[in-house]
Amino acid sequence: MTELIIEEQESPFKKGVQAGLSIAIGYAPVALTFGLLAKTTGLTMGEAMLMSIIVFAGAAQYISLSLIALGTSAFEIILTTFIVNIRHFLMSTALNEKAEDDSLLYKAIYSFSITDESFSVVATREGVLKTGFILGVNLIGYFSWVIFTGVGFVIGANLSETLQESMSVALYAMFIGLLVPSMKKGVKVIYLAALAAIFNTIFTYAELLSTGWAIVVATLLSAILVEFVESIKQSKGDNHEQ
């Protein structure tokens, strides 16, 4: 037993927990805000925490709240969640290359808690990734996310009505806060966001599609169109070089 404890102090898992600490700290305010917004959206504390426990995906959880507030159907919300989270596919694909060969059971366990943040911490490491290390990074973020969702919900219960009304902007402010730093890095992001915004506005005002579908279709149209234009540009660029 003593040997086991000594061994664990040096374990990849513990190193992972240490490396993931910054994620845990970073998640705290975001999860707090989620818990608080879940409360204002009308979810129970159990539902809010269940979402953080089962889904564990920040953007998708925030999005689902705004869709719930809009009265969107469960099917559309699940589909939107799928579309928003399909980017995990890429991260897992990259991780699959970099992770040590281990049983599929372990991979199935740690893949549950892969996020943009844990991926960026893990994928920037040199060499082959140990299963324990990935698990450590992922788990500390996970616990922070779940616990602070609950804390945020409890705090949210004591907010004044005026403040709760003003909080309805929080989701949108958060989306803008996530988008703008990326926009500064490249024009492509601006085109992507602007096109999707224009498509969604057209769909909404023309009442062509329901809210959830409008977001899904606008997103895919914009993502495909921008990629298409970019690949044409690239192939033209290649021709010029020749």
Partner: protein, 102 residues
Amino acid sequence: MNSEMVWMIIGMGAVTYISRLAPFLLFHGRELPSFIQGVLKNVPYATLGALIFPGVLFISEDIWFGLLGAAFAFVAAYLGANVIIVVLGSILILSGYSFLFS
């Protein structure tokens, strides 16, 4: 807990887990076509655009309520404020706005 809500959450969790797990099951050194990889990388930014507009205009009957909040968030984020400051600042601005104009 509302059972429809619980099932929806389980559904959200399932579809999220599928995209996290599937590559480990499917790929062994194989790569997706680069066009599809590109589209997937574009999705988060496009989603954000579609989520912000036109939804932000509808958060209150007063269209300026949402526009003011969005404008503040944009400027704050552009100046380099982190997401939490952007969120809390927008809430504060709109609290002030509704205190003054309603």
